[in-house]
Amino acid sequence: MIEILKLTKQYGDFTAVDAIDLVVPRGELFGFLGPNGAGKTTTLRMIAGILKPTGGTIRVAGVDMRADPITAKSKLGFIPDRPFIYEKLTGSEFLRFVAGLYDQRGDEVEHRARELLALFDLEEWRDELVESYSHGMRQKLIISSAFVHRPEVIVVDEPMVGLDPKAARILKDLFREYTNRGHTIIFSTHTLEVAESLCDRLAIIVNGRIKAYGTMVELRRDLEGGERGLEEIFLRLTGENAARNLMDVLDA
């Protein structure tokens, strides 16, 4: 459903994403992990068609993003990490607008929008301007907007930021149920417990390169991790020594 081949992104001399290959099949919930600045957001934004790759190819639902971006994007929903949306639209107007971008309107869209807002406890706020929403409420609205047009693939950057525990739980269940119905979701997160418990497969990216890739069982096997959890595997790959000089820092 998502096929990435030799995907590269360079900013001048700096290589943010370095020739990565990735395949996320239909119906899979895929976790994309890595330390800050590793290239997660850049990769996801390239898959969403926001950033143009320097090299390599991206295929979404079989459609090449470079050759036919409009068709590829029509099969896609994107949830960014920063919830910037139109302040002067109401919640329901925003969802209607997003559906309109995908050329969808009518009773079915209205029904879906109502259901999604109700799911995230935003029903009472549907006719209020977004400017009065809290950070978490905006995030919930953006998440709803990615589902309102029923895309085949959803790309999510840091979905749990700003969400209350109830909304986080709903989102996890929603992700699971959505992929069970044959759709595909790729998401980045720093919450390793969520990734470990939720994802079918994972990739860990460090300095723009994929260091590990597979199911939890495969990761443990490949890294000779025994019964180690994802946190230990992650720290091992990304440099567990980062915390080594804590004493020196705090004593300074």
Partner: protein
């Protein structure tokens, strides 16, 4: 498992020898609070932003020309006043008093609005209010910020004004120091009063609602002043038959305009100094009032600020029920556009009309149009010496002025369109929407009202001027094509020089791209008028002398003008399409 670290020692209390003495509370000085502003300004000055040098050069030249103009006009006027026996000096004083009264009103209004941002909405406030910052220091820092942000423009205008007074009345080298001593309290007093008014308002209304109310009040006041000034037709006051006797006139001049206002004290002290009779009372009143205002303002701040700041965090509840008659009509009327374009147009309209800072500027626009039409109405185009040519050339020149008005409106409303999408570009770029559709919506939502306005202005003024049918059609067709060109240029330059990080739409046209847009607009307006001048002249000559105009000349001239307009519409939009496709955010 990584080895468990022992944090006991690391988290133990600070060892002796740390910088702060135990028991003393931190107390960051006022200058420290202003440090980020200073550093920001310094790094902005040092940044190598694209086109910065050119922008500074253009601004410097424009600024110098403006100074020279203000200085030149005042210098001539004051020299004339100085030569008039008895009343010359009184006139100069009266003029200064009126200008300073205007300054004070502008300062007060601008301080009320600036104080809302600096005291209640600024992004650094969370940190400052949460930090161990003394209330008086916070007040001092924010007041200083407010004074600087709201007074610099008045300061710039007052430089050539006082220079003219100083030179005409031989103020000497000491005069600038006197002016500084007089103007400082004049800047401080409105800042304190403005901040106090804002403080009171925020305690009554939520901050966002206060901002809305203030922006509408500000715009209506500014519009009202302009309208009032124009409608009283000040040019009539210059007529000598307007005064019954010299004695009456002098009596009016001697009466202070507003004896209790600081502007009057500045005027008295300035004129007193220039006439060799220093008015120490005025100086004393200015400084004591400023000092007292700061003390009272600080006390009010101590009493009300925290409550107000807390209230400012609450957002104004704004329920917007959909499905009203207007919304249903919009839905129905825009149905032929298809789902995507209809939603894009509706979004543009909703965002505009729900943002008070945007639509309130329409009031100013209305004032501008009224003043424009009013000026045309009172043009002395009847009577002796007014030829057939003059009557028909005025509507032609009217096109130039109308073009400038339209370019300014497009700069304010159409130019920022793409920049304002900066923060939501992720949504538009990740959707299957074509960039062409977005620009299409922005172009038409901006151009349609502009076109109606353009045709209305030109149509009404042509009707008032009673021009010939030929000139009427030339004017209306030209202004229509010119409107499309100005909109196309606004979309093009707005996309080529976007300001994605700026939240305030009113600031976007003042960017380098905005300046280039205005220059391109002036070039197109000038080009169209020059291309049409020849055919219009030959037609009018033929009409006046009863001959037939050369059709080739007419077709060539008007055709070239039309081509220029069409090119100026299409080319920038196509460049914008490519640019927006390449934007990565």
């Amino acid at each position: 498992m990584p080895e468990q670290q022992d944090f006991g020692a690391a988290l133990a209390p600070r060892r002796s020898g740390s910088q702060r003495t135990v028991g003393m509370l931190p107390d960051p000085p006022l200058l420290h609070l202003l440090l980020p502003k200073w550093l920001t300004a310094r790094s902005r000055a040092a940044s190598g932003e694209k086109g910065r040098g050119a922008r500074i050069a253009v601004l410097a030249v424009t600024g110098f020309l403006f100074w020279a103009f203000v200085f030149g006009v005042l210098y001539r006027l004051l020299t004339y006043f100085r030569g008039v026996q008895e009343i010359g000096q009184l006139l100069a004083g009266k003029l200064l008093g009126l200008i300073l009264l205007g300054f004070t009103s502008i300062l007060l209004l601008s301080n009320v609005i600036t104080a809302l941002s600096s005291f209640f909405l600024a992004k650094d406030l969370d940190m400052l209010v949460a930090g161990p910052v003394d209330w008086l220091r916070l007040y001092g820092a924010k007041l200083l910020e407010t004074v600087v942000a709201s007074s610099w423009m008045v300061l710039l205008v007052s430089v050539p004004m006082f220079t003219a007074y100083g030179m005409v009345y031989d103020g000497g080298w000491f005069f600038p120091l006197v002016v500084i001593a007089l103007m400082l309290p004049l800047f401080v007093i409105p800042a304190v009063v403005g901040s106090a008014v804002t403080l009171a308002l925020v305690n009554i209304f939520p901050a966002r609602r206060t901002r809305d109310i203030l922006s509408v009040i500000a715009v209506m006041t500014a519009g009202g002043i302009v309208l009032l000034f124009r409608l009283i037709r000040p040019e009539q006051l210059a007529r000598p038959e307007g005064f019954r006797s010299l004695v009456d006139f002098i009596a009016v001049l001697r009466t202070p305009t507003s004896p209790l206002l600081p502007s009057e004290w500045v005027q008295k002290a300035t004129m007193g100094y220039l006439n060799g009779e220093p008015d120490w009372l005025a100086m004393y009143l200015l400084w004591t009032t400023a000092a007292a205002a700061i003390v009272l303002g600080a006390l009010l701040h101590r009493w009300l600020y925290l409550d107000g700041f807390s209230k400012a965090q609450e957002s104004a509840q704004q329920f917007v029920r959909g499905g009203g008659r207007l919304a249903r009509f919009g839905d129905w009327a825009l149905k032929p556009l298809g789902t995507l374009r209809r939603e894009l147009v509706l979004k543009e309209l909703r965002l505009f009309f729900r943002d008070t800072t945007q639509w309130s500027q329409l009031i100013l626009l209305a004032v501008l149009v009224v003043v424009y039409v009013f000026n045309i109405k009172y043009l002395p185009l009847r009577g002796e010496g007014i030829t057939f040519f003059l009557v028909n050339v005025v509507p032609f020149l009217n096109l130039v002025l109308a073009g400038f008005v339209l370019a300014s409106i497009a700069a304010r409303f159409i130019f920022p369109g793409v920049s304002l999408e900066g923060r939501t570009l992720w949504l538009l770029r990740s959707s299957p929407m074509r960039v062409r559709d977005l620009l299409w919506a922005k172009f038409w939502v901006g151009t349609t009202p502009l076109l109606i306005l353009a045709v209305a202005i030109v149509g009404v003024t042509d009707y008032m001027l009673q021009v010939t049918d030929f000139m009427f059609y030339v004017s209306v067709i030209t202004i229509t094509l010119m409107t499309f060109a100005l909109s196309g240029l606004a979309i093009g330059f707005g996309t080529m020089f976007p300001q994605f990080e700026t939240e305030n739409a009113a600031q976007i046209p003042t960017s380098f791209g905005g300046l280039l847009y205005m220059m391109a607009s002036v070039a197109v307006i000038g080009g169209v008028v020059i291309l049409e001048a020849r055919p219009v002249y030959s037609y009018l000559s033929a009409k006046a002398f009863g001959t037939v105009a050369d059709p080739t000349e007419l077709v060539l001239g008007f055709g070239a003008a039309a081509l220029l307009c069409i090119g100026a519409t299409i080319v920038p939009i196509n460049i914008a399409l490519n640019r927006l496709e390449a934007v990565e955010r």
